[in-house]
């Protein structure tokens, strides 16, 4: 299972995506993550293990964010991997996700 599900406590779920997020697996990922978007529920998604992300992956993140807002679910992405940060920056989407992003010291803006 590429996504680890941890019930942290009542009303808070932590999902850890342990795979790349690309066109090849976005469908499966959507089907896994989507049911966790419940009203009045908090969901955290750990992106630290996302080694690669493409446009389809990014689109999935955007979709989740949109749906969370619609369903009044608190969703935050945490521990962005370097690959994710790069793409978010490239698409100029950091304000869209509004998540605190830790920029690693060795990450170099090209």
């Amino acid at each position: 299972m590429s996504i680890a599900v941890n019930e942290q406590k009542e009303g808070l779920t932590l999902l850890t995506i342990q795979d790349e997020m690309t066109i090849y697996n976005v469908l499966e990922q959507k089907n896994t993550i989507y049911p966790h978007l419940k009203p009045d529920h908090e969901l955290q998604i750990d992106l630290s293990a996302v080694s690669e992300i493409d446009s389809a992956g990014m689109q999935l993140l955007m979709f989740l964010k949109n749906e969370a807002i619609r369903k009044q679910n608190e969703l935050s992405f945490i521990h962005h991997s370097q690959a994710v940060v790069e793409v978010v920056e490239m698409f100029n989407l950091s304000s869209f996700f509004n998540d605190p992003v830790v920029i690693l010291a060795d990450w170099n803006d090209s």
């Binding site: 469908l27 959507k30 990014m58 955007m62 749906e67 490239m90 698409f91 090209s110």
Partner: protein
């Protein structure tokens, strides 16, 4: 400037102004159908503007002040501040007429004050023109919004604006928008990027493998448009791409456009492509769109702007440039104004050349010089080429004459409150200018007649089960050396009974007539048959139908009328292409030579009594089963009425329209280039002849009026 110079300058001005006014009228009438044609609107403006300018030069202040008002309004129309609706078109048409009257007034004597009538008309028009201002509508450039939404705080003037709208299948086709961005970084700098998320569907409708991404990028690079487009080439099937050049580049493009070759008019797309503003893909897409959506009326430039591949300013610039080149080409071009008298002189000279050519051939033949014969033959063919070219110079398309009738039809139908649509076909058919000039009055009369008497009122039409709108068609085409002009209406048709009754009561035909339908209809061209009972001020303009017929016959033409009651009337006019030189067929009878226009000769056969069952009494031959009247030219033209019969006679079969007849002659001389010389006044009334020509040996040959002779032969 001496008086003489001034006079000729005024003359030139008057001529030019008249032309502009005619253009203006045509443009106005065309605009009634397609009110957005900017080309037409421009030509309206030009007309008024130029006339105003030139009038000022000659101190024709009345024209200046009047045209100034019209010009102001047209300027507003041109800038889209005022709508050109039917009312305004009507007013402008009146303005055109008024300008014409003012022009006439000024040219006659500009020192005279304007008549009260003219003044009143002018004042009224000015009020109509300036009275109501429709609200101004201005277009907002869509691209500006785009610019605003992206780069706050960043100067995007130097950036290309690239819009990418991916199709849903893009991911599945292996397209990753990210890769474009990565590549773009290698050739320039992505200054801003706007990702539109509104397209993302909700919950179950979202298919993670479909692509819903749309983004707009401000991209700074030194690469040209083609290079940028190439980045996306791979995805072009899965993505709608628009690339808008940076504003700062616009300057560069403008100067590139400015520098373009002015020798020939290019298409808008071509110009933009050459300047590097657009790529071929952009243009093909726009053209595709133009034809897909049936937006024929929508100019290409507008589509390009709407597709956001080019700035409004650039299209404007290119259009201006195009206009400028067009004008330059038009003025430089290919037209020389020539005094028609000079042309006439040239044609006369060519006529003489043809005659002396014939004389030379005669000499060559007589002296039997084989080597000279070759040279003479070459010269002969050159002479006939020159003849054709010279005559061609005087050929003008009839379309211009035809389009004048648009106005007639429009005005008359308004006056009679009928709805009439004029269709013009075959306007490109050419004929001799002198013929065109002379056919104008008869045509006007015939058309007015059709409008007035032919086409019914909308109520009557609806009652008959026809469209409320009547149709009248002007058609022209060439047929065997002649031009055929048709006036076709779908009105009530002619009432044969009424015509017959009138003709009998006027004593034109006996009561025991046996006229065919065709002949009955043609009676309306007879002199005594006046239709005055129903004439209005429209069709009673002093030219009766008999005059129409005479005018047309004076041009060696004929007119015929056909009608189907309840369905309409067709008037067919047949005219020779030229009045000066024709290809003739020379025959001899009783030692006299005659010319028959070659185009009317159908065949020549031996006059063989036994074979053709010649009926000597009633002058009929049976030609292959068809009875045909014949005429002995020798008998007809000889003083004593009877000429000696020679051994071998030939029968020349001639045809005009549907009628055929045979001429019996003694000898056939063959084809002959014939210069038509009019007969003197004394011979004008002579039946059967239309003119004469001088032969190579100095003798005279008479040109036969085939049409008249056929009628003679039939009636005998």
């Amino acid at each position: 400037m001496s008086d003489l110079d001034l006079d000729s300058a005024v003359e030139t001005f008057a001529e030019e102004a008249q032309e502009l006014l005619v253009d203006m009228e045509n443009a106005l009438l065309a605009l009634e159908d397609s009110p957005d044609d900017s080309e037409m609107i421009n030509s309206l403006f030009r007309a008024m503007h130029t006339i105003k300018g030139s009038s000022g030069l000659f101190g024709f202040d009345v024209i200046v002040s009047f045209t100034h008002e019209a010009e102001t309004i047209l300027d507003q129309v041109r800038n889209g501040e005022k709508n050109l609706d039917d009312t305004l078109i009507s007013v402008l048409l009146d303005c055109k007429d008024h300008t014409t009257s003012l022009l006439e007034h000024c040219i006659e004597d500009s020192s005279q004050p304007l008549s009260d009538e003219l003044k009143a008309v002018g004042d009224k028009l000015v009020v109509k023109l300036t009275g109501k201002n429709s609200s101004a509508e201005l277009q907002v450039a869509t691209t500006d919004i785009l610019l605003e939404s992206i780069g706050e705080g960043t100067d995007l003037n130097d950036s290309w604006l690239i819009s990418l709208a991916f199709k849903t299948d893009a991911f599945r086709m292996g397209v990753d928008p990210l890769s474009f961005l990565r590549y773009m970084k290698t050739i320039g700098k992505v200054q801003a990027i706007l990702l539109l998320t509104s397209e993302l569907p909700e919950s179950d409708e979202y298919d993670p493998e479909s692509c819903y991404l749309n983004y707009k990028i401000a991209f700074k690079t030194d690469a040209n448009k083609q290079t940028i487009e190439d980045i996306f080439e791979f995805a072009s099937d899965d993505c709608d791409i628009n690339i808008l050049p940076p504003n700062s580049k616009v300057e560069e493009y403008i100067s590139l456009l400015e520098d373009q070759d002015e020798d020939h008019v290019q298409l808008l797309g071509e110009m933009l492509l050459n300047a590097g503003v657009l790529t071929e893909t952009d243009i093909n897409k726009a053209i595709q769109k133009q034809s897909d959506t049936n937006e024929d009326e929508k100019p290409l430039g507008q589509i390009l702007v709407e597709q956001q591949v080019v700035q409004h300013g650039l299209v404007d610039k290119a259009l201006q440039k195009q206009e400028k080149v067009k004008k330059k080409v038009a003025t430089e071009s290919n037209f020389i104004r020539v005094d028609s008298a000079k042309l006439g002189h040239l044609i006369n000279l060519v006529g003489e050349l043809v005659i002396s050519g014939a004389a030379m051939n005669l000499m060559v033949e007589r002296h039997g010089l084989p080597d000279v014969e070759d040279v003479a033959e070459t010269m002969g063919s050159l002479v006939s080429d020159i003849r054709d070219t010279a005559l061609d110079l005087r050929m003008v398309p009839i379309g211009e004459t035809f389009s004048r009738f648009r106005r007639v039809v429009r005005d008359v139908s308004k006056e009679l409150s009928k709805e009439i649509l004029l269709t013009i076909t075959g306007g490109e058919t050419e004929l001799d200018k002198t013929v065109v000039e002379k056919i104008n009055d008869p045509l006007t009369h015939l058309i007015r007649n059709s409008l007035d008497h032919g086409i019914e009122t909308p109520e009557q039409r609806l009652a008959c089960g026809k469209d409320a709108q009547g149709n009248i068609q002007l058609n022209a085409y060439h047929e065997s050396g002649h031009i055929i002009i048709q006036i076709i209406d779908d009105g009530a048709g002619l009432d044969a009974e009424k015509i017959l009754a009138k003709a009998i009561s006027n004593g034109l035909i006996p009561e025991d007539h046996n006229l065919t339908e065709q002949e009955t209809y043609n009676l309306i061209f007879a002199a005594g048959l006046s239709t005055k009972a129903q004439a209005s001020d429209l069709s009673g303009r002093g030219v009766g139908m008999d005059v129409v017929k005479r005018n047309i016959e004076g041009l060696r033409g004929s007119v015929n009328i056909g009608s189907i009651p309840g369905q309409g009337t067709t008037i067919t006019i047949q005219l020779p292409l030229t009045l000066a030189i024709i290809d003739g067929f020379m025959v001899e009878a009783s030692k006299e030579r005659y010319i028959i226009p070659l185009s009317m000769v159908e065949e020549c056969v031996e006059m063989n009594s036994s074979e053709w069952e010649v009926d000597e009494v009633s002058h009929y031959v049976n030609l292959r089963g068809v009875a045909m009247p014949y005429l002995r030219l020798g008998d007809y033209f000889s003083e004593h009425g009877k000429s000696k019969k020679t051994e071998r006679e030939s029968l020349v079969v001639v045809g005009f329209g549907q009628n055929k007849a045979g001429f019996v002659v003694d000898k056939l001389h063959g084809e002959h280039q014939t210069v038509i010389k009019p007969l003197g006044k004394v011979f004008e009334k002579l039946a059967g002849l239309t003119g004469a020509t001088v032969l190579g040996d100095g003798n005279i040959a008479l040109i036969l009026d085939v049409q008249g002779l056929i009628a003679k032969a039939i009636s005998k």
